[in-house]
């Protein structure tokens, strides 16, 4: 009886977890669509505004040169009405998404186009048959056209045209510009698209204007979503094996449509993992049952949550790095500050010897925590290829001297001999100095942990071998067993995995060194006989 009750409870909780996750995914998906719509609308609105604001300028209203319009120039020649051309050039410069800026006469004849070279290339003078012309004439207002293939440019553009009236409200021309569809791609690029997502834009007539899937396969979703979007409705639905979100995009007086779709398998990836885990959990239940089973259920549930979190964080890699950086480092500020205040004599009162030692221990550990956070972030940046390298030429001997001056005294106090062994006095190298320094700091830091308590010795050096510089850091510690050397550069690997190990570290230092050196085009390796001493070598091209 109890067994059945537990099974039923487990199943209930299991389904609940799946449901919540599905809801989360659907909500996330529809947020993504809203974001893309807003982004596109903002880009379009600013283009429309630019055209509408400039149409009232006297420069635009002034059309003294209409008698110079000729078939030869497909409008006015380029040395007339220079002010209007200059304004058009400025618009193109401010808003590079515009392909060109034009002014037409009320009958649809070209007056001017900027760039002028494009004006010369157009095939005819009159454009009264165009959708945008009819739109402006019918509405007497700004009009955003269907997407059309520009005859001059052989490229898809969308026209924004606005009527220009003189002071007596008589139509004197049509001012506007045409946007490259590139601006839609830019809207998409601002989003991080999920795996196998497909984004499709439709114009007001339901014509497909941009599809991120270039394989041209036919739509596997119902066409009524497009109609719904164009008529102003939005929604997110699960159909067949797809999750489909649709929304209108308000483009001046008309609506465009946007559809984003993704296979459910990819969208609910984390949910599928959950489902697998829950089935696994149920099997365990029927096998063990009882109190032990309950604890396993709890642990599995925790793992499910963990799997979900990992899935989410990998989808938001950049946000994660920024968040971890800020959220983890900020609390360190007051901790370090107050420790300093407490430890300082006569600042806010004096501590006794034991209290002072306690505060110093806190400070030491905070410094370690800080180092660890920086290491984790660096390892992550390397993973994501996001680490920045600033390459500059610098003298190797000066570089090594700087290292010597930072370590010599500190190590001397600890009874460790620090030797620089360099034969590169006159050599310069082009690399990221601070990252190279980071590699040395990591390797020297490791060496310090492994040298014997008395008579410790660390040697660093550099020598030129043909077109590469070979750097090394040697210690006279216990060495690294040969069978463990290959795993040394893996993340979180520590040679001594026993709990009582003598050394401390994040286990990331060598992985970071390897990442930095390899990104700079070099190689890094270790040599040790496993008994006495270790040398880390790395080489970089000159």
């Amino acid at each position: 009886m109890i067994e059945i009750a537990i099974l039923v409870t487990a199943f209930y909780f299991g389904t609940q977890i799946i449901d919540t996750e599905k809801k989360d995914t659907v909500a996330k998906f529809s947020n993504r669509v809203t974001l893309l719509v807003k982004n596109t609308e903002t880009r379009l609105d600013s283009a429309i505004n630019l055209i509408e604001v400039t149409r009232n300028l006297p420069i635009v209203k002034n059309i003294n040169y209409s008698s110079y319009i000729s078939e030869e120039y497909k409008g006015i020649p380029d040395n007339f009405d220079l002010k209007k051309r200059t304004l058009a050039k400025q618009i193109l410069k401010t808003y590079p998404e515009f392909e060109f800026i034009t002014f037409h006469m009320p009958n649809g004849d070209f007056y001017m186009m900027e760039p002028y070279s494009d004006q010369l290339n157009i095939t005819r003078l009159n454009f009264a048959d165009r959708d945008w012309y009819k739109g402006v004439m019918a509405t007497e207002d700004t009009y955003v056209s269907e997407v059309y293939n520009s005859t001059t440019l052989k490229r898809n553009v969308v026209a924004i045209r606005t009527p220009v009236f003189d002071d007596n409200d008589t139509l004197i021309g049509i001012w506007g510009g045409s946007l490259k569809l590139q601006f839609l791609r830019e809207s998409i690029e601002d989003l991080i698209l999920e795996k196998n997502s497909r984004v499709i834009f439709y114009d007001q007539y339901g014509k497909k204007i941009l599809d991120t899937d270039t394989t041209n396969k036919s739509e596997s979703f119902s066409h009524h979503f497009i109609d719904d979007a164009l008529s102003g409705q939005k929604g997110t639905v699960l159909v067949n094996d797809l999750i489909v979100a649709y929304s209108p995009i308000s483009v001046g007086p008309v609506n465009w449509g946007l559809i984003i779709l993704q296979p459910q398998h990819d969208a609910f990836f984390s949910t599928l993992i959950t489902e697998g885990l829950i089935i696994f959990m149920l099997i365990i239940f029927s096998a063990i049952l009882g109190l032990a089973g309950y604890f396993i259920y709890k642990t599995t549930q925790k793992n499910v949550r963990l799997a979900k979190e990992i899935e989410q964080t990998s989808a938001h890699k950049d946000e994660f790095s920024a968040m971890i950086s800020h959220e983890l480092k900020t609390p360190l500020v007051p901790i370090i500050g107050y420790c300093k205040m407490l430890a300082k004599k006569d600042l806010i009162g004096n501590l006794n010897k034991e209290q002072l030692e306690a505060v110093e221990a806190i400070t030491r550990n905070i410094k370690r925590l800080e180092r660890l956070i920086v290491d984790i972030l660096d390892a992550r940046k390397l993973d994501l290829n996001k680490m920045k390298f600033v390459k500059e030429e610098f003298s190797l001997s000066v570089f090594l001297e700087k290292i010597e001056s930072s370590y010599k005294n500190i190590l001397g106090e600890k009874g460790i001999q620090f030797v620089i062994n360099s034969s590169v006095q006159e050599t310069s190298i082009t690399a990221d100095e601070s990252r190279l320094r980071q590699v040395f700091d990591n390797l020297i830091g490791n060496a310090i942990k492994f040298v014997p308590k008395s008579n410790g010795k660390i040697t660093i050096g550099a020598r030129r071998e043909n077109y590469v510089i070979l750097f090394y850091v040697t210690d006279n510690g216990t060495g690294i067993p040969i069978e463990k050397q290959s795993e040394l550069f893996h993340k979180f690997y520590q040679v001594d995995t026993t709990i009582k190990r003598n050394t401390q570290g994040s286990g990331l230092g060598l992985a970071i060194c390897k990442g930095i050196i390899e990104t700079m085009g070099g190689t890094i390796w270790v040599e040790s006989d496993g008994k006495s001493g270790t040398t880390f070598y790395f080489q970089l091209s000159l």
């Binding site: 500020v333 370090i336 920045k388």
Partner: protein, 123 residues
């Protein structure tokens, strides 16, 4: 030196203001970007220490507002950043008139000697 510290973390503003006052500097604080901006506009500070990541009105918003009002150079703006290595974002801030960027977590002693050094050299 008259300093304004803007950071949404109250522990940070309290700690630094104590530290700065103990080192004989006048220190005002704000835990909110918008309020901080008002304080900058109403009083003359030598230095403004500004956290970038704040809710609602960020440090970057404060900087933009000051640039717009042509008041960015009325004081030295020093921003705090949790990023381990300055990148293009900071180059942009410097171009906009920010004096310098300091990495979090900053050591209060180092910060004070940095500020005092600024005062002496007047850079």
């Amino acid at each position: 030196m008259k300093i304004l510290l803007i950071d949404d973390n109250k522990d940070i503003t309290e700690m630094f203001s104590k530290y700065l006052k103990l080192n004989n500097h006048e220190c005002h604080t704000s835990n909110d970007g918008r309020n901080g901006l008002n304080m900058i506009e109403n009083q003359k500070y030598d230095v403004v220490l500004l956290d970038l990541a704040m809710p609602n009105f960020t440090g970057v918003d404060v900087i933009h507002a000051l640039v717009e009002k042509n008041k960015i150079h009325n004081q030295k703006i020093i921003v705090f950043t949790a990023s381990s290595k300055p990148n293009n974002e900071f180059d942009d801030l410097i171009k906009m008139g920010v004096h310098s960027c300091i990495a979090k977590p900053m050591d209060p002693d180092e910060l004070i000697s940095y500020l005092e050094n600024l005062e002496v050299k007047n850079i």
